[in-house]
């Protein structure tokens, strides 16, 4: 399993979804931090601990894609998994071109998300 500082960051403007993801990752044994918006993450989140960011695409203020660009621009090489209320092809294309590792359309299977996260974490641990 991953180390304690290998934290999953979740950014979603919907509180209920935030809470449910927090529980899911906790139940699966992943440390997790939740944020309501891109700004919250950038202000409060310790990005060095982040092993992976689960990002909602559509959010008030900067969108998930904006945040991904910002993180990249800030030199943070953190894998991004997108979750979205409505997925369409141009958006998916844009996300993967920007380096997203995965994209899930709501409502998604939690097990699949966990597996995606675990794939990312294990890959990062292998790299380290």
């Amino acid at each position: 399993m991953s180390g304690t500082d290998a934290t999953v960051f979740v950014v979603d403007d919907d509180p209920s979804i935030r809470r449910s993801l927090e529980r899911l990752f906790r139940a699966a044994g992943h440390p997790v931090q939740i944020f309501g918006s891109a700004h919250q993450l950038l202000e409060r989140g310790d990005l060095s601990k982040a092993i992976c960011v689960v990002l909602d695409v559509r959010m008030p203020g900067p969108s998930g894609l904006d945040l991904q660009r910002m993180l990249e621009a800030g030199g943070h090489d953190i894998p991004v998994i997108f979750i979205t209320g409505h997925a369409d092809l141009p958006m998916a294309e844009q996300a993967f071109r920007a380096g997203a590792v995965d994209l899930f359309a709501k409502p998604f299977d939690g097990q699949a998300l966990l597996e995606a996260v675990e794939r990312v974490t294990s890959a990062r641990q292998r790299r380290h």
Binding site: S16, R23, G85, H86, P107, G110
Partner: protein, 846 residues
């Protein structure tokens, strides 16, 4: 002053009469006495003067003069005596005529006791009495005869002559022709018998020398003649009597002059005066009696004539009083004929004024049978006169060809050919005129019957007035009835009790269509509603109460719709009941079949709702992405939470607090999803319009929340600047939501082309001063094209490639249905603003 042609013949007759009379007098003279037993010339002259006006007397006096000279100069009288005798003769005639003319109301008539009295006093007694003094003077002085003897002989002979001859002459001249023409055969035979009897009896008694020696025979022969004289007086009046007297006197005097002794043993010299006296004494009362009888007979005739006329008048009135106006025209004709014949007129013309009271025309005309009886034209009668001038008052028009009326009493008959125009006035208005014409000679003059004709005209005027009024009323009734008949609406008139007293045609037709109004004239309209009400129809109860209230006057009108027919609700009627404005009360009920109208309205309503639904559904299509997102959020939360719970529960000692929190979140998310679905369902539902008080601010918040996903997706900011207090309007929540949704979607669509930073839409609510709310939806888009501001709310007007152009059109119809207004303006800088004004609810509470 000359002699007219008409006076020459009478003058000649006087001249001849005087001469003949003088010679007759000489025959009846017993020389040496100068005066005769009878002296006709004076009486002839008196009679002539009585029938001529005094200013023409000189003609007849002059006419008598040559006759006098010729007659008397044959006798050996000295010329001065002859001249003096002419003077005395003339003086007697002038005195007699002047007296009678002065005191009598009709000098040439002897048909009343008064007239006979005046005649006896003036002409019979006074004139001979006075003139005999002159005569006696002349004769005694120039002839040397004893004065008083002359006076006595002359006086008695003149009294007798005046008494018997003057009435005879006057009556023959004035009425003789009429009697000869008009008397019946029986009268003629009677007159002949009387004459023969008089002559026979007279000759017998005056010429039989021993007549009075027969035992039992009265000594006076006149007593035997008295029954015959009475016969004459009673049956033939004063005229007949005077003729009978004349015949008797002539017989007696002739007998005496032939040597018979009418009074037995008296010598001639005493016998003649005795005979004269006897005649005078008998004749005067007989004249009075004849006059009395004549007077009485005339009064009776006048009374009978008057009664006859009054009967005619009352029959005329009765004929027209209850006559229906359409039968009057015929009756006018019938009665003109009856009146004309009764009054012995020449013609009667009924003139009528036309409706605009401009022209007179001949309505009816009756003309007496005979030549030249063509009915006159109105122009001929009016003769260029204005009708107002003609019909101002009764006008008597004598025919110009007649002799002018003579002012003096009794000399000349009024013109027989004349015309009387009497205006017909009824109700203070001139309706026409009656023209009475006496065109035939020998008919009674019109002037004598003017008052009667006016009475008759009044009846005609009344009838004419009533006819015109009734005709006008009938034509107005006909017009009203035509209007009522032409109405497609059934109309019935009710009396105070609700009985139907009149219906129009449509009412009957609707009834035949099978509507429940199986009620005709005479039946009670309320009964029908009572039956319907007793069968449990609540609207019938309401209608029944309403009609009763109108009939009782407690309600000014009733208007309601009701359905009837089979199946129920098949046909709809709009009923209006208004009170009848008359003292007896009642009401007017009208029924209009509004089935088609209602169907059309319902159809329109359904179409509108279907279109609205269609628009909502198509709006939903535009919202699909947003709604999918909206639903995916709670569903996602639920799934994730559930899977987390599964994991928590998989361990040996599950953290139940964690699981409880998870379940609580799942419940909330599920509710959230349910709300989204409910909102979706609301929009999709084909709902009927409801009108409830609602808070417009809350409604706007809901819509903006519904669109929140959309705003996120389209990267649009939607700002609410709402009035701090709730804004209550009455309306249909879903429809108003649709309007706002439409405006917001339009605003977002308008900003597609803008750069993302300025994609801002502002929704504001303000309370306006006019008890209304003003909602604005402002966008920062490209604004409206030039004519779009006006046309944007028209159906099928669209600027969008995919638009139907129905959204704003439907929004407008919804707003109008809410008594509101919707319009659009361009903003000063950029974009457009849509405005919505809705009336605020009165109570201001939700």
């Amino acid at each position: 002053m000359g002699i007219r042609r008409a006076e020459a013949a009478p003058a000649l007759a006087v001249c001849v009469g005087y001469y003949v009379g003088a010679n007759l007098g000489f025959i009846l003279r017993f020389p040496p006495d100068t005066p005769s037993v009878m002296w006709p010339p004076n009486a002839i002259l008196t009679a002539t003067l009585l029938v001529t006006p005094p200013r023409r007397w000189w003609i007849y006096v002059l006419a008598a003069f040559p006759a006098h000279l010729v007659a008397e100069l044959r006798i050996d009288w000295p010329p001065p005596l002859v001249l003096a005798l002419f003077v005395t003769n003339c003086s007697e005639a002038l005195m007699a005529a002047a007296f009678v003319r002065r005191f009598s109301d009709a000098p040439a008539r002897f048909d009343t006791l008064y007239r006979v009295g005046v005649f006896v006093v003036g002409a019979v007694i006074l004139a001979p009495f006075l003139s005999s003094f002159l005569d006696a003077t002349a004769v005694s002085m120039l002839g040397g005869e004893p004065y008083w003897r002359v006076w006595r002989v002359r006086f008695f002979s003149n009294v007798l002559t005046e008494l018997t001859l003057v009435p005879a002459i006057v009556i023959i001249v004035t009425a003789g022709a009429g009697w000869l023409l008009g008397a019946s055969l029986r009268r003629r035979v009677e007159a002949a018998l009387l004459t023969v009897a008089l002559l026979a009896v007279g000759i017998v008694i005056f010429t039989s020398p021993h007549f009075d020696t027969i035992p039992g025979v009265p000594r006076s022969p006149l007593a035997i003649l008295l029954p015959l004289l009475l016969w004459a007086a009673v049956r033939f009046g004063p005229g007949g009597l005077s003729l009978a007297l004349l015949v008797t006197v002539l017989v007696a005097i002739t007998a005496v002059t032939h040597g018979y002794a009418p009074l037995g043993e008296l010598p001639l010299r005493d016998g003649i005066p005795a005979l004269q006296t006897l005649f005078i004494i008998v004749a005067v009362p007989l004249m009075g009696l004849a006059a009395l009888i004549e007077e009485r007979r005339r009064a009776e005739e006048a009374l009978a004539e008057r009664l006859g006329f009054e009967e005619l008048l009352s029959r005329l009135s009765a004929a027209f009083v209850h006559l229906p106006s359409h039968e009057m025209d015929e009756a006018f004709g019938v009665w003109l004929k009856r009146l004309g014949e009764y009054l012995r007129l020449g013609r009667i013309v009924l003139l009528r004024l036309d409706e605009d009271r401009e022209r007179l025309s001949v309505s009816h005309c009756w003309t007496a049978p005979g030549p030249g009886t063509a009915p006159p034209s109105a122009e001929e009668l009016v003769n260029g006169r204005n009708w107002r001038e003609l019909l101002r008052e009764p006008i008597l028009v004598p025919d110009s060809s007649d002799t002018p009326a003579v002012a003096d009493r009794g000399e000349a008959a009024p013109p027989a050919r004349s015309e009387l125009v009497i205006p017909l006035l009824a109700g203070g208005r001139v309706r026409g005129g009656l023209v009475f014409g006496a065109v035939a000679v020998g008919r009674p003059p019109l002037a004598s019957v003017v008052p009667r004709l006016r009475l008759l005209a009044e009846v005609f005027a009344g009838a004419l007035g009533r006819k015109e009024t009734e005709d006008a009323l009938r034509s107005s009734e006909l017009m009203k009835s035509a209007i009522l008949t032409s109405l497609p609406t059934g109309v019935a008139v009710l009396d105070r009790q609700g009985r139907i007293i009149a219906v129009n045609q449509s009412w009957t037709q609707t009834r035949e269509d099978g509507s429940p109004r199986d009620t005709g004239v005479g039946s009670n309209y309320l009964d029908m509603w009572r039956r319907a009400a007793s069968s449990g129809d609540p609207s019938a109860v309401e209608a029944l109460d309403g009609i009763r209230a109108v009939l009782e006057g407690s309600r000014s009108a009733l208007a309601c719709d009701y359905s009837s027919g089979a199946p129920p609700g098949d046909r709809w009627f709009a009923m209006v009941v208004v009170p009848l404005n008359r003292p007896e009360g009642g009401a007017v009920v009208s029924h209009a079949d509004v089935t088609e109208r209602n169907r059309a309205e319902a159809e329109a309503q359904r179409n509108r709702q279907e279109l609205a639904h269609f628009t909502r559904v198509s709006t939903m299509g535009e919202l699909t992405a947003s709604l999918a997102h909206e639903l995916s959020q709670p569903l996602s939360g639920i799934l994730t939470n559930a899977q987390a719970a599964q994991r928590f529960l998989a361990v040996a000692s599950p953290d139940l607090v964690e699981v409880r929190n998870i379940l609580s979140d799942i419940v909330e998310d599920d509710k959230r999803a349910g709300e989204v679905i409910q909102r979706l369902r609301d929009l999709l539902r084909k709902s009927e319009i409801s009108r409830v008080p609602l808070d417009l601010n809350a409604l706007l918040r809901d819509v903006v929340r519904l669109l929140s996903s959309d705003t996120v997706i389209r990267n649009v900011t939607c700002t609410l600047e709402l009035h701090p207090e709730p804004i209550i309007v009455v309306g249909d929540r879903v429809q108003l939501q649709q309007v706002v949704l439409n405006l917001l979607l339009n605003a977002m669509d308008a900003m597609v082309e803008c750069d993302e930073a300025s994609r801002t839409s502002v929704v504001r609510t303000e309370k306006s001063e006019l008890n209304a709310v003003h909602v604005t939806v402002e966008d920062a888009g490209s604004g409206l094209a030039k004519d779009a501001e006006r046309r944007i709310f028209e159906p099928f007007y669209t600027t969008k490639a995919s638009g139907m152009g129905m959204g704003l059109s439907i929004a407008r119809s919804i707003v109008l249905a809410h008594n509101g207004l919707i319009w659009a303006t361009n903003n000063p800088q950029r974009g457009a603003t849509f405005h919505l004004a809705l009336p605020l609810s009165g109570d201001g509470r939700v």
